[in-house]
């Protein structure tokens, strides 16, 4: 109980709470953005998209067996990837679209900000876990191959869909982390995990 009342515990709880709400809002915004994106890009909402390269899949086996640190690290890696992909999409969007589609661009930028903010939340939580924050790759992900415009649209659709999935998973992960108990007890085990 004493730990629960400490400033770090309060901060952790606050970060979790805020992160949960941010993830929820991010999911809502991404869902709205998906509709706008599909309509704007002339895509079919039911079109299937292959997995986006460089983005870890949200679906995972034995999710409930994961430690808190594992959850945080997987989330951080995923959102860093989304940050880069969304920045690229925004750039492509600005190149392809004119001022008429400024609304879609603003929505993409807003989601990008949310992804960045969520990554910041994850990093803060990792710091509270006294875990080192893995550095971002200096060179970043390898530049994607030059894609056609349609392929860019499909990739964008895939990124947003996966982001929506990750938003849902992140909410669940943070809620799990917000639970006061065993997560901290499992912390030594987490130290050994990659």
């Amino acid at each position: 109980m004493a730990a629960a009342d400490s400033p770090s515990a309060a901060l952790r709880r606050d970060l979790c709470s805020r992160g949960i709400r941010l993830a929820g809002k991010m999911r809502a915004d991404v869902v709205d953005l998906l509709d706008a994106y599909v309509e704007q890009q002339g895509l079919d909402a039911s079109a299937s998209v292959a997995a986006v390269e460089g983005v870890p899949l949200a679906a995972v086996e034995r999710w409930d067996e994961q430690t808190g640190t594992q959850r945080l690290l997987e989330n951080l890696a995923a959102y860093r990837a989304f940050r880069a992909l969304l920045a690229q999409m925004l750039e492509e969007q600005r190149e392809q679209m004119g001022e008429a589609d400024a609304g879609l661009g603003r929505a993409l930028a807003a989601v990008l900000l949310q992804v960045s903010a969520f990554a910041y939340h994850l990093e803060e939580l990792l710091r509270l876990e006294s875990r080192g924050i893995p550095g971002e790759e200096e060179d970043g992900p390898p530049p994607p191959p030059r894609l056609s415009l349609f392929e860019q649209k499909l990739r964008g659709l895939g990124v947003l869909r996966e982001l929506a999935q990750w938003a849902v998973r992140s909410v669940r992960d943070l809620r799990q982390l917000a639970k006061p108990s065993p997560a901290t007890g499992a912390a030594p085990d987490l130290a050994e995990s990659p």
């Binding site: 709400r21 941010l22 809002k25 900000l113 903010a117």
Partner: protein, 918 residues
Amino acid sequence: MFSRWSWVACGFCLVLNICSPDASSGLVQSCGHIIPESPVLALGSNFTALCILNESCLDFGNIYASQIIWKIKNRVVPKEQYREINRTVSSVTFNDTSSLATPLTCNILADGQIEQNIYGITVTVGLAPEKPKNLSCIVHQVSRFTYVMTCTWNPGRHTFLDTQFKLRYSWPEEIFPDCIPKDVNNSCTITDIQFFVNTEIWVEATNALGKAESDRLVVDPIDIVKPLSPQNVSVSSGILPTVLKLSWENWISNAVMTLKFNIRYRIAGDTNWMEVPSEDTASPRTSFSVQGLRPYTEYVFSIRCMKEDGQGYWSDWSEEKTGMTTEDQPSKGPPIWRIIDTSHSPASWTVHLIWKALKPFEANGVILQYEVTVRDKSCLSCPVKKYNVTSTNHTLQLPEGTYEVTLIARNSVGASPPSVLLIPASNSKAPVKNLRTLPKHDKLWVGWTAPNTYVLKYVIEWCLVSSSSDCIIEWQIAQGDVQGIDLKGIKPFKCYLITVYPLYADGQGSGQSVKAYLKQDRPSKGPTVQTKKVGKAEAVLTWNHLTVEEQNGFIRNYTILYKTIDGNETVVTVDPSKTEYTLSSLTSDTLYTVRMMASTDNGSSTGPDFTFTTQKFGKGEIEAIVVPVCLAFLLIVLLGVLFCFNKRDLIKKHIWPIVPDPSKSNIAQWSPQVPAKHNFNSKDQMYPEGSFTDVSVVEIEADDKKSFSEQDLKPFDLLKKDKSTSEGHSSGIGGSSCMSSPRQSVSDSDEGETTQNTSSTVQYSTVVLNGYRDQTPLHVFSRSESTQPLLDSEERSEDHSGGADSTAQRQQYFRQNGGQDETNTDRPCFERAKQVTHADEGDLVGFVQLQISGQSSQPLGLGMEKNTQEAALSSVLQTCTEGQTVRPETVEENPLPVDEMPKSYLPQTVRQGGYMPQ
């Protein structure tokens, strides 16, 4: 400014460079410059500037630092502030930059004391920015997905410099673009807001003198949101007549922010809002059923929202939406009352049943009809009468008795509970006590003390009292447990008659009434006063009461103000019930102005002025004067009559002297040769002494002188001397009757011929020289040519004349005169003259004539009077002339005693007649 100065400086430099060896090179060089160049200085700080001369100018122009003069604008800086650092550098120091101005110039006195400018700089003075304070931010929701954050702060003092403010915000790992305020320096709006991340916000203020930052505000923008108010609000009636369902849409998804709500509502037309308890709407929702509403009532709803946890701001209230609850059966029966008209016959009532329409919250719908039931309580077998009425009154003809009236209101849903009114045969129960009123703002409170027995209800009747129309009764029912109600709709300045009836379960109490005003004012006019009766020292004033419309309040008193034109005003206060007042202690025969003032609790009004004049005499005063005067006059007259009656003989002698009857005279024995003395003696014998008041002289014309003795003729000789002109013509009458005046002489002369012609006949002549009793003296000379004896009337007329026919009478006078002279020697001559005038005006003729003839009028001494009998006739005449100045009227006013009258005649008569030798 600076550019201008630079131009001037360059101009001077050009002049200086004309002499410069480098001028040939074509480059323009100044002979010096100032360090620092155009500084920005803090207000109140010190400042030092250096003017550095070029070496090249020193040799050619003989210019040195000691010749430098510093100027601010056109004002020379005192030399005390200079310092010559070396031969080419001069400094100037200012301890307070507030004394600085632009431009600051470096000048030099060249040869010939010509001041030339070397260089100049502009100086800017201001303040460093203060730390911005009170930074606060609010996130406004603009649309469903758009939020803007507006931050405001206090920029601090004015810096006099161009100061830039920047609103900066950042995440720990990301710095966002600055927000630069436009046109203002205390607020800025950020459009790119991300929730759920703590954002650090601060303000930077920067100018040439420094930079300041506000305290940093760390906030998650989601916690300072002011959301948009719910939209598409709708109201629908529920199943129950007391429920309305409110539905709406939220602008914010639950993913972003969960909301709580406030719902307020009011009855349409009312201004007071009611609120749904906040705990009922503290969770996210899009609808709510408001309960406990009135049936058949229109309500207005409005709703607002905010973040569920209470952080942030309430939205504005949504647009108002109205909804109406459904009908329900009336909640109560209509209040009912009656007015009984017994004017036609006490045994037969005309009962006007009146009731009030139910209020909307009581009717709970549209009242379709009223059902009236009348039951005669004194006749159990009589059938109950029922009436269906759509209006709010019903008139019945009922015989006197006790009735129970039941009233039910019915709408589309059902019927109201019945209202019951008992109409007893008489209001024999106890009335309320201590009925009173009290104004309360725009309402009139009516209070009473309840009777000792239980009262079911009270009926309060009131009506506007008017002098021109009947009292239109309004009424209200109060429950039996109250002892006062507020009457609404009462007009100020109007008189209301309020009556309270207690209603018992088994009867009704008699009504108690009181008059009341909601608000009083001063009367609209004052009473018109007038006099009913005006006396010498009092006046009765009357006036009419003001009409109730004119009173504007309870008349507390009347005030009478009255005054004379130049006097002080007197004030009298009169009881308001009076219409008459008597002013007393007024001054007689004086004009008074009176006016009247009516006073209420709130002021007074004065009526028109009325003027009246008090009478000169009081009641009975004239009678008190006139009656005694009349009585006195009557008394005097009576006394006079009595006196005359007592002295009738004497009066008769004076007024109607007995004229001797010539027929009885001894004319045959009378001859001119007979001395007058004999005639006198005969007269004396014939008439009693003192019976004559006048003298008549009868003369015989022919040869009268011969018959007189010498002594008797002496007076005539004297007269002849005085009146020589008339002597020749005067008749015997004129001479013998002592009428020796010129006038008489003329008269005598006029008739001289006639006299001579008739000298052989006996003639009677009467001469009246003075008027009788104020009558104008009439000088008549009548000569009777008749040979007939004289009648009584002739005798009377001759009584006034100074005729010489009565020698005997003259003798009587002479005796009386002698007595008088002895006893009254001290009297002045004029007093005696009065007596003479009164006693025998005829004797005065001679005196009058003498005075007219120009005799001296000096008063004579008493000694002369004593000797009148022996004195010469001339002196006598002179003496008695004085007596003629006294008017005969004075004699009449002071009549002498009768026995004294002859005494004053004697001397004159003797002298005048001159017939009687003493």
